[in-house]
């Protein structure tokens, strides 16, 4: 059986309905909400502020300290709170993706804290988190070259699909499922982050990049609108 039709009846290159908003956390210096359908992420940015412990300070540049948290009720089976291997890794890759666009040399020896919190998860949480964090950084008045937009591309059986849901991630028939989270910068269209979970022949990778670029451009439009004061539901 081939994967002829998507489980939730979307087109293969269709993104789930997007929600985006900035200023959701008044106490933070900058904050944003970003959601792909049932995957909801909020991000808060604090700083730049003095970095402690001191041995973590870099005299040449500031650092981004990114934490990714999935709330216990965000998934069907209660997620154990606290950092784990997965959340540490996602925090690191998200921080690296964001560091590539932020002007860190401006405030040496400081830290910009980015907190990404997943309120509800249905796959692509890191992508929603990165999108929210990029908006929150801009909203916090951080000096940066451009934004980043993130999307997950998958290969389900032999089809390239955009913005996976959990059931697609777990698809086992035919060639099975491959998940490729992808982050692109908004203006220069450079790749800020790319991961791969599964198998894909090199010959099909070009299709993945094309699909990802198309989706990221669409996502950026939403991020831009939200930052300009619109509340997108």
């Amino acid at each position: 059986m081939v994967y002829a039709k998507r489980i939730d009846k979307r087109k293969f290159d269709e993104i789930r309905p997007i929600r985006a908003e900035v200023g959701v956390i008044p106490n933070a210096d900058g904050s944003a909400l970003f959601a792909f359908g049932e995957t909801v992420a909020i991000a808060a940015v604090y700083g730049p502020k003095p970095l402690h412990p001191q041995h973590m300070q870099d005299p040449a540049r500031g650092i981004i300290r990114c934490n990714y948290t999935m709330l216990p009720f965000s998934v069907a089976e209660r997620a154990k709170p606290g950092p784990n291997r997965r959340s540490k890794e996602i925090g690191m890759v998200a921080g690296n993706a964001l560091s590539s666009v932020v002007d860190l040399e401006r405030f040496p020896g400081t830290v910009i804290d980015v907190e990404i919190i997943i309120l509800q998860a249905n796959a692509s949480t890191r992508c929603a988190g990165i999108n929210a964090a990029a908006m929150a950084l801009a909203h916090a008045g951080i000096v940066m070259d451009e934004l980043v937009s993130s999307v997950s591309i998958g290969k389900i059986d032999d089809k390239i699909v955009t913005d996976l849901i959990k059931e697609e991630e777990d698809y086992e028939e035919g060639e099975g499922a491959t998940d490729i989270p992808f982050t692109m910068t908004s203006r220069t269209k450079k790749i800020a982050h790319l991961q791969l979970d599964g198998k894909i022949p090199i010959s099909r990778f070009k299709e993945v990049i094309e699909a990802a670029k198309k989706a990221c451009e669409k996502i950026f439009k939403y991020q831009e609108r939200a930052l300009k004061g619109e509340k997108i539901n």
Binding site: D29, P50, F107, H139, G141, L147
Partner: protein
């Protein structure tokens, strides 16, 4: 979104400022020059920060509307004593770095063996930024009206909203001071010290919160005046 700044704009004529996001092309053309928080690439002026873009003659700059306080030399600030060292005080002024006030920048006699006598941890001082160096920020009290402030409360707002709190030539802040009969000192770092009767302090703080939330609207001074009058009668 286009925001018209009337009351507190520096220029006489109403200027249109456009909200821009990082990476956005503000204008293109060879004649334009990049100002604060912008860069020029292939004859396009690109925003590097979220804020209001303003084009004055050929220079394009961005006026930040969010973000932490960026200390500049000569700023008058309010700070809270964080720590005492052998020769001065470490003062929290918000923003990326904490600052240092050496004893030598204090205009009156201080007992060097007991600095806490003048200002203890947690005390609020009003000071001026002497200089901003790579190694840190130095403060001074050697100017009129600076020093430790007694009592009162500290309200923290975003430093970019300070011009709105002060208003044109101090119109807003003076109005609040007169109506509520409180003493108010506004630091350029967004720390505001208020002292007066408890009720009046509350009212002044509430008025400040309203100004912060409605910073970009017109006729704010009149509305705040009405708000204060309504609540003072009660």
């Amino acid at each position: 979104m286009i925001i018209k700044i009337g009351a507190e704009g520096e220029s006489e004529r109403k200027q249109e400022r456009k909200l821009v996001i990082p990476g956005e092309v503000i204008v293109s053309g060879e004649e334009y020059l990049p100002g604060d928080f912008t860069k020029k690439e292939n004859n396009e002026i690109i925003a590097n920060r979220y804020g209001l873009a303003e084009i004055s003659r050929r220079v394009v700059k961005i006026i930040p509307i969010s973000g932490v306080f960026e200390p500049r030399r000569g700023n008058t600030i309010i700070g809270r004593v964080e720590d005492i060292t052998f020769n001065g005080w470490v003062v929290d002024i918000g923003g990326p770095y904490s600052s240092f006030l050496p004893v030598s920048e204090c205009p009156r006699f201080i007992n060097k063996n007991n600095l806490a006598e003048f200002a203890d941890i947690g005390d609020i001082i009003s000071a001026k930024i002497l200089n901003v160096k790579k190694s840190g920020i130095d403060l001074t009290l050697k100017s009129k009206g600076l020093g430790k402030v007694e009592g009162g409360r500290l309200v923290k707002i975003n430093s970019h909203k300070v011009p709105r709190i002060i208003g044109k030539e101090g119109s807003m802040i003076n109005m609040i001071k007169n109506k509520t009969k409180t003493e108010i000192i506004v630091g350029q770092n967004g720390y505001i010290w208020i002292k007066g009767d408890l009720e009046k302090e509350n009212l002044a703080e509430e008025a400040i919160k309203i100004i912060v939330n409605e910073a970009s609207s017109d006729g704010l001074t009149e509305r705040i005046e009405k708000f204060l009058e309504k609540n003072l009668i009660k």
